[in-house]
């Protein structure tokens, strides 16, 4: 379609003696071309002596699209606010109809929102209250999960065994590759550092002790838990959050199924069972990593290294490490499921819930690691 070049749009005002404001519209009112602003009309309407009524003069008006009704709607809204009647009969018939349609549904009272500027103090206060609310929500979710565990112990919880097995597979077997890689490398890094330092005293063989104790007591539980927070905790939050958005959780509730029992319990159990096992596996891989470095850099045999490692190990260290893994596993699962179940009802909210689940999971892991270490030292474990 070839169209003639657009005539510049114009808007002129004429105030007659009887207080009538004449708005003369001319030219082509098209979005693609610059269009005069309606602010002059709005100023007249808002002024101390507003006109008695507004009339339009459109004899020279050419082509028009959304640009025209958009300006007219802005004028009419202000005119209505000022109580000035608008005479629209000279407007093009199409524009009249569109204008009428735009005002066919009355604006709902109180729908319009005003952006409030909040002071810094208010924002800090609000943020603090939010942290408190998040803690309360987490604690009450832990309470709800405990009730659910009790129901399961009495055989009253409704959940599917297959869900539990799938969750165990996803949290366990499918995490093996990444846990293997990270643990092996962490073991190697410890051994490198240890060899450099201990060799100076001719105590190179004690690298075996260093790697074994560090992996079993601290590093394997923490590293595995952080991997699972990023991998499985995030998956729980995103999965449950999407189910919330799709009203799948409401559907379960309406059938009389407790969504905590049905959805959260299998996931929680899976992580709590699998994280200690993965930690044990991670410790072994870490020790292997340490052995690899020691065999290359030190003058020790594999048998010597294993014997030294076995000497350094105490049952209490092993059990202490596994208990930590158990605690971290519960915290990661609770953080993931809590954020998923508390997710808002939009695609954006799922992303936010996932982010919060991972951040909360990692913070909880590190804080509880510090607390547990102090307790272990006090109890001399």
């Amino acid at each position: 379609m070839s169209s003639p070049p657009a005539q510049a749009a114009s808007l002129d005002l004429l105030r007659t003696g009887e207080g009538v404001l004449k708005v003369r519209l001319a030219g082509d009112w098209l979005l693609a071309c610059p269009v005069p602003s309606a602010s002059a009309v709005l100023e007249q309407l808002r002024s101390a002596s507003p006109p008695r009524r507004v009339e339009f003069e459109c004899t020279d008006l050419g082509r028009w699209d959304t640009a025209l009704p958009a300006a007219l709607v802005a004028i009419r809204r202000v005119a209505e606010g000022a109580g000035v009647p608008l005479v629209d009969e000279r407007l093009p018939p199409g524009a009249q109809r569109l204008l009428r349609l735009a005002f066919a549904v009355k604006e709902r009272e109180g729908a319009r929102r005003v952006h409030l500027h909040r002071s810094l103090a208010e924002q800090v206060g609000q943020a603090t209250l939010n942290i408190r609310a998040a803690l309360v929500a987490l604690l009450s979710f832990i309470g709800v999960c405990s009730q659910s565990l009790l129901r399961m112990a009495r055989g009253r919880a409704t959940y599917q065994r297959s869900d539990l097995l799938v969750a165990i597979q996803e949290a366990g077997a499918e995490s093996l590759p990444i846990v293997s890689l990270i643990s092996f490398l962490i073991g190697m890094i410890f051994a490198f550092v240890g060899v450099r330092q201990l060799e100076q005293f001719g105590a190179g063989i004690y690298v075996a002790d260093l790697v074994a104790v560090a992996m079993v007591r601290e590093m394997a539980p923490i590293m595995t838990a952080i991997i699972m927070a990023g991998r499985t905790g995030a998956a729980y939050a995103a999965g449950l959050g999407t189910m919330k958005v799709n009203e799948e959780i409401d559907a379960l509730s309406s059938m009389g199924v407790n969504p905590i029992d049905f959805l959260v319990l299998p996931r929680l159990l899976a992580l709590v069972i699998m994280l200690p096992i993965l930690t044990l596996y991670g410790s072994l891989l870490g020790i292997l990593g340490g052995a690899t470095v020691s065999l290359v850099m030190l003058d020790v045999s594999f048998v010597q290294y294993v014997a030294q490692t076995a000497d350094s190990m105490q049952l209490s260290s092993l059990l202490g490490g596994l208990f930590k893994a158990f605690v971290y596993g519960s915290l990661v699962a609770v953080a993931g499921c809590e954020q998923g179940m508390a997710c808002g009802s939009s695609a954006m909210a799922v992303g936010q819930a996932t982010t919060r689940a991972v951040v909360m999971g990692i913070v909880l892991i590190i804080v509880s690691a510090a607390i547990l270490t102090v307790i272990y030292i006090t109890l001399d474990i």
Partner: protein, 264 residues
């Protein structure tokens, strides 16, 4: 079809659609005239929405083509297709609003992306489009704060943002109360009359089909092709195909007897 080709805005020519090996519809052949309201109708699962996806460029046909103003859509280069897409607006079934943006930002985004209009004018245009769909004053709301019907109307405001020559509607009145559905029908007719917009509506709401449809195509899931093309009121009264008449009379036979679904 006895229709002047020069008048055709959209021409669907020998279109065959399939998902993998699963044939949806074959040999679809019809055209939509400039400035008419065209209905794509048929029972659930017959491929109405799939046809829409082909027309708006989301899914490529197995064979056949779609022509916009005589120009091929699917045999064109990617850039030509992107350019052609600018001339239409689409209202998806549940609005498909971007959940991270307010309604005003949703409606304003196409204007910011594809025009050089200033912020103040964009604000005016957004307010006008939202008022047209009955959502005056809701600009600062997020989609998740709205009801399903309001989301749909906001989606329409966004589809209309650039004054498209063609508007596609996927099930526009599903999930709307009767009064809102009626207002939406009036708005569709108004857009056609005032701005000359060509409107393609995927629908099975009979009341709305008869109220707004100038022309229609009837798809059938069993025959896997179109059974009839024409004005929906005429099809109801005098279509040679009994399946089309039954659909348009809600299952009633010619003598006005209601027959339970599945019988005959």
């Amino acid at each position: 079809m006895a229709r002047e080709a020069s008048d055709a805005h959209i021409t669907v020519s020998h279109l065959t659609m399939a998902y993998g090996d699963f044939l949806i519809q074959r040999d679809l052949d019809f055209s939509v005239r400039r400035g008419e309201v065209f209905i794509v109708m048929g029972g659930s699962g017959c491929g109405k929405t799939t046809l829409l996806k082909h027309m708006i460029g989301l899914k490529a046909p197995v064979s056949g083509d779609i022509l916009y103003g005589g120009r091929s859509f699917w045999n064109a280069t990617d850039e030509e297709r992107e350019l052609a897409k600018r001339q239409f607006g689409v209202l998806f079934q549940s609005g498909a609003l971007w959940s991270s943006m307010t309604l005003a930002e949703n409606v304003g985004l196409p204007l910011r992306l594809y025009t050089s209009i200033g912020e103040a004018e964009i604000a005016d245009i957004v307010a006008y489009k939202l008022a047209l769909v009955g959502l005056a004053g809701f600009g600062q709301y997020y989609p998740s704060e709205l009801s399903g019907g309001m989301k749909k109307r906001a989606g329409l405001a966004r589809a209309m943002a650039l004054d498209p020559q063609i508007l596609y509607f996927d099930e526009p009145s599903a999930g709307l109360d009767p009064l809102s559905a009626r207002l939406l029908d009036e708005l569709i007719l108004e857009l056609r009359d005032s701005l000359g917009t060509t409107v393609v509506v995927v629908s099975h709401e009979l009341a709305s089909i008869f109220a707004i449809g100038d022309n229609a195509v009837f798809l059938d899931a069993d025959a896997k092709t179109q059974l009839a093309v024409g004005n929906p009121r005429q099809l109801r009264d005098s279509s040679p195909d009994p399946r089309v008449r039954r659909f348009l009379r809600r299952g009633a036979t010619d003598d006005g007897q209601a027959v339970p679904a599945g019988v005959n």
